[in-house]
Symmetry: C2
Subunit: 124 residues, 2 copies
Amino acid sequence: MSKQELEVIGQGADGCCDGLASAPLDDERVAQLAKVFKALGDPVRLRLLSMIASREGGEVCVCEMTPAFDLSQPTISHHLKLLRQAGLIDCERRGTWVYYWVLPGALDQLAAFLTMPQTAGATA
Amino acid sequence: MSKQELEVIGQGADGCCDGLASAPLDDERVAQLAKVFKALGDPVRLRLLSMIASREGGEVCVCEMTPAFDLSQPTISHHLKLLRQAGLIDCERRGTWVYYWVLPGALDQLAAFLTMPQTAGATA
């Protein structure tokens, strides 16, 4: 697992655990987060990520993913590449095939970023 | 707050609380989620959302947002419209200005969707 990729999504070097409600977010972090959300903002990529995330053993061969979509393997590989560049999944080639797995820390950190503080109670 | 919008992100009528790891996700839900993530996948929209989410009182006038960006008010309004269409914020016109607030339930449900189950331990 690439620690670097997790850090991209997770915590800036200058502050821990800043979320959506802790503005101002610095420009670099915003750009990185937008890239990750953009990667998630496509139905095919969401389905691919879900397919990988829901796999019991944690790994899925690209050869299993292509038949599940009405798309060419290069197209599937392109979508997987975008998910990988966003730090959401990682992969390893073994012989003919490439195997993919989710980086759960990346997803958890994204979830933490989106979670609003519980102190924001009703102000009526 | 629009209950309908929250339901778009949250739970399908046919199942509660399905997350990324609970495949297969149905096509309609995937399309809706992709729309929300796509709305988040832009630096300007993330900064706008963060600006609203971090506001103590919970509401921000559009007149306060425009000066914070090097963009025209119609452009800012367009980005806000996409966030609203995604069910992440809501707004109300009062006199000359429109006031925006975050729908925290929508963000929480998105966070829950991304959170991986903790049962996925090491299998080595």
